[in-house]
Amino acid sequence: MLNGFLRNSKVRIGLGVFAAFLLLALLGPWFVSAVMHTTPRTIDYDALGQPPSAKHLLGTTLPGSDVLAQVIVGARGSVFVGITSAVLATVIAALVGVPSGFLGGRLDHGLTAFTNLFLTLPSFALTLIIAGYVQGAAWWVIALIIAAFEWPGGARTLRSQTMSLRGRDFTVAMRMLGESKTRLVFAEVMPHMTGIVSAMFLRACVAGVFAEAALSFLGIGTTGSVSWGTIISEAQGQSAILNGLWWWFVPPGLCIALLGTATALVNFGIDEISNPRLSAANRKLMKRFRRAARTAEPEVAR
């Protein structure tokens, strides 16, 4: 299964890019200080708001900071918020969805109602409001807030998955052998959800990065630290757009888009594995198909 998973080129590319960003988040600050010998806040008075050059590969901000250094260090801010919120959201989703789906009954009713309540709440608006309320909070608070509105969709998916897995013959069969509930959940049901959970996790991760960027852009996210969102926000605040300092706000946005694309790819790959009809749409295969159909023609026409 894992093999098939990795054989899918979309998954491979997606995971590759994702891993690259993860690496950037981990090693970025070290790289900036050890290799680039600078910090994202170092001021180069000789290059204030300069376009990309050999000295500053992505140019500088108006107050003379190196954009590349900011983008690299910003990866940590963004990705960490993304991952933390995703971990939290996934854990909450699992804690709510799995018992709800597996145990059913009144517990299920309660948890489902709770989930639905969160699902109908307009999440970004509420995130904004709450984040606005605790303005200038630490990054993990932001992650927590984002997670608080990220989990319900996952909980619902996990619940329905668990419900279907609970009723699947192999689970029923193990139950009828006398297997305990815990073991049923962890050995029979959960392993089947790794795909879904990891897809969910990735999605939540990107949603977290998006939300963090959006909040930072509105000046409501974490303050003081550097993240892709704050870079864009600072650029916007210092009229980078009016003054055409595109190198300031374009790179962080591209990074977000790239990360988003990567996870989308992984998710598409997972979709394709679970629904092979989607992967019939393989371009190489289509080419071969057309060629085969063409070569068949003369024979057929005989």
Partner: protein, 327 residues
């Protein structure tokens, strides 16, 4: 009766994949006469559905018909190789000459269209002169033929029972008075009692309207009662072709024999039966030579090298090396 309707010659269908291709139908040849019922029997994965979709040119990627001819003899004496026609040209043959009934009726009816509309749709397309009213009346006539009340035309597919759906599909196939109806396991989804009713009606209609049928099923015992001719498929090839009686009483191919003996009798003496050991081949990694040789009790040395060809043996056509050498 002996007029030829369809000649299938060397039909080969492959499923392409990134890792290679699967020959799900290899070198299939037979001749179908007007008004004849040809049964095709075979186990799961033997290529029956593939054959059906290839016959009707309905196969979807990654399936490709890579070789063969499909010569259709129109009632006016024209012969045409269906495989050389463009989609547009083919449309002239579809439904008015060549109709199809598929296995799962629920999936074959558009769930969001009323039954009557689905009749009207095809009727009015093939006969643009038809008014809506006339089309509706014709639809009522058609469903009445299979024992469904005309009020049912207003229903959506999900409001019909399985048997009704299956019968309305047969009625739908008759809409444009085709000369050939191909059927892919049309009754596997219904009960034996319903199956009996449906097939009885089919036989009556066939008697009356004279269309030919290619009937595909994995239930050989059913075919033995239904078909005039039976083709046995194994691993994508026809391994034996003959009349129903001959196949039942004197099967030549070891597989046919094994298959016949896989159905315990309903009457008569009960003996311990063995079925066929092993399991059907995976066509992605087909055995060399005769696809049946790994399971064959009468295997010869050459069986794993040589693909036997279909040739007349007695009254049947058989593809088996056992009969190659015999004079």
């Amino acid at each position: 009766m002996n007029e030829v309707l369809l000649e299938v010659d060397g039909l080969t269908v492959e499923y392409l994949s990134q890792t290679g291709s699967v020959k799900a139908c290899a070198d299939v040849s037979f001749t179908l006469h007007r008004g004849q019922i040809l049964g095709v029997a075979g186990e799961s994965g033997s290529g029956k559905s593939t054959l059906i979709t290839a016959l009707t040119r309905l196969q979807r990627p990654p399936a490709v018909t890579s070789a063969g001819r499909l010569v259709y003899h129109s009632s006016d004496g024209d012969k045409v190789d269906l495989l050389t026609l463009s989609e547009r040209q083919l449309r002239a043959y579809r439904w008015s000459e060549l109709a199809i009934v598929l296995q799962s009726a629920m999936d074959c009816l558009n769930p969001v269209m009323r039954l009557g509309d689905q009749f009207e749709d095809v009727l009015r397309y093939h006969d643009p002169q038809l008014t809506q009213r006339q089309a509706w009346e014709r639809a009522e006539e058609l469903v009445a033929m299979v024992g469904i009340g005309s009020d049912r035309l207003r229903s959506y597919p999900h409001e019909l029972s399985g048997g009704m759906r299956q019968r309305s599909l047969i009625a739908l196939a008759l809409a444009c008075d085709p000369d050939l109806i191909v059927m892919d396991e049309p009754t596997t989804a219904v009960d034996v009692v319903m199956q009996r009713q449906i097939l009885a009606q089919l036989l009556q209609l066939q008697d009356r309207l004279g269309f030919a049928v290619v009937f595909v099923t994995h239930d050989l015992s059913l075919l033995l009662e239904l078909a005039d001719q039976i083709a046995i498929m194994y691993g994508g090839r026809i391994v034996e072709l003959g009349s129903a009686r001959e196949i039942y009483t004197a099967p030549k191919h070891p597989y046919t024999r094994g298959l016949r003996d896989s159905f315990p009798p309903l009457h008569g003496e009960l003996t311990t039966m063995r079925g066929i050991p092993g399991s059907p081949p995976d066509l992605r990694t087909p055995p060399s030579g005769c696809a049946f040789h790994p399971r064959c009790a009468d295997r010869l040395d050459a069986c794993d090298q040589q693909i036997p060809l279909l040739r007349p043996v007695g009254r049947n056509d058989v593809a088996c090396l056992l009969y190659e050498e015999t004079p």
